[in-house]
Amino acid sequence: MRTFVRKLVIALITAWVTITATFILPRLMPGNPIEQLIGKLTGRVTPEEIAAIKAQFGQGLNEPVIVQYWHYLVNLFHGDLGTSITYSPQSVSSVIFGQLWWTLGLIGTATVLSFILGTALGVYFGWTRGARTDLFIPVAGFLQSTPFYVLGTLLVMIFAFRLHWFPFEGSYDATTVSPGWNWAFIASVLRYAQLPLASIVLCSLSGWMIGMRNMMVTTMSEDFVLMAVAKGLPKRKVMWHAARNAVLPQIANLTLAIGLLVSGALIVEQVFSYQGVGGLLVNAVSNLDYPLIQGIFLVITFTVLIMSAVGDVLYVWLDPRTRTATVE
């Protein structure tokens, strides 16, 4: 229980830090970026919108900061992230949620796939360590240390441009299908998702794999695994004894990995011109669309928080030792 409460507290504080950081950062930055922004925007947007942006970032307001903060929190609580500059007059939340599902789909599938595949491979490579399969480890190291987008670029070059096996950009074939719950659209989405997915999975899989392999090797030197052999259990059961324990640190590392994976996925979206929050973020940055940047940052952090909360629940569920408080 204590672990649980602790994780909850950490999640809440992270959420609060994120929210507060998005409030403070634009106000703290040297050179007053908001003034610069407003200068650039003059003429492009209506005076009302400029006033709204000014209000959001505390420019030209006589309210004390703490009151601004309160308004900010109240707005946030109502799901109001302000108005996007680039996509004006759309609200930031509607802009983000229009794209979020693409990103969530990609990230979610990639996380699950890479975790399961990587862990399974790690179990195998750990079990057969000392065999020829050890040679895969440096290869995995190469993949692990290659940034997602570099691998994505290579995949595009080879499979899309050279071999024409896959489409090289976009999320679906906009010329032939239209979005909706129809088979043609779904098939197109699945086809277009393959390369981006492959590049994310290939890169993040190696991390899981190396981690799991090392944990397998470490766990296999524990007595209880030898004991399982001594009991005459069949190989797969012995492997399970080891894997069941070795997977625990993997899940504990989920928090870290998800953060990295999400960041990577945003960039991959960019490489493949895949629809989603990544493209939105780059657009927002190049257009100095601060409300949108803030919104994306918040939404992504919350996504990561929720995903790592799932990991934490999974961990407590899998490790009985965390369930009982022990007095040291």
């Binding site: 229980m1 204590r2 409460v5 009982t324 408080a325 007095v327 040291e328």
Partner: protein
Amino acid sequence: MNQIPANDAVVATTNGITRGEVILEATDLVRRFTAKGEGGLFAPKKTLVAVDRVSLALRAGEVVAIVGESGSGKSVLSRLLARIITPSAGTLALRGTPIDLRSRRTTAYANEVQLVLQDPFASINPVRRVGRSLERPLRIHGTPKDQVQARAYEVLESVSLTPPQQYLDRFPHELSGGQLQRVNIARGLSVRPKVLLADEPISMLDVSVRLGVLNLLRELCDAHLLAMMYITHDIASARYIADETAVMYAGQVVERGRGTVVIDAPVHPYTQLLVSSVPDPDQLTHQEHRATTANAVGFNLEGCRFSPRCPHATELCHTSEPPMVELEDGHSAKCWLVADAAQRTAVSMRPGPSSEG
């Protein structure tokens, strides 16, 4: 071995210390720990009493053995005496001078009271050469630089690591357990302390080298008139080395006595249990074992700590803490069984803790 002087009139002195003189005296030392209870953030905190009103005196040239199982508080006691842990209550006096336990431990105190730890493989920094670990205490205690090495040689020789130059440049992993424990003892001795506390110094060693280290401790105690405390769970080794033995259970001293009396004629049921549990090939016949299941949980904090496991426990034992009763010269036990009838009724009238002074 020449342990208890046959006659107290045979008085040896070194550095102005007389054999048998009380060097370090602890009175009613208490150490409580608070631990988080079960059930989330808001659970009440539990207080654990690791050391409960322990009094003892360490005398020059004598070894006091503290015997107890793991969790009996014997290691905490040694750290209280070394002042690495601050006592919750009680007093300490070094050569008659009371120590202010609220102040920081001074270098001077560290100079007088040294502690040798249990695990020789872990208690010397693995990335440093042995010589450096040995010279550090000397440097801290202000030995001039040019004398440090000479003293290190001297002290290595005194623990029979000869020739010393062979050991100074080695790394800990290059030495055996027995050699490392000697280095460990040498480090404790290098600053010429008056008190040496040894926390299970032989339990991690190979059986064949244990006796050598034990003998070394005894010799050093006699030669330098050290006041020594020897902590162990091995009763036989306590019997072998000690001038006085105290048995600890659940943070309290439950029986103590001079010489071998505690082990040869134990009166406290716990000491009896301990002694009868030691494998003893010479007495294979009477192995009938007093039924005391270790499964019994917890300590009784109301009455006698041992009463839940004690085969002789009465109602009184469960409700009221027994006093430390003096049986004969220097032998006393904290048990209602040995308290005579008169005392029993007298004390049971006024329940409450009482401890020996």
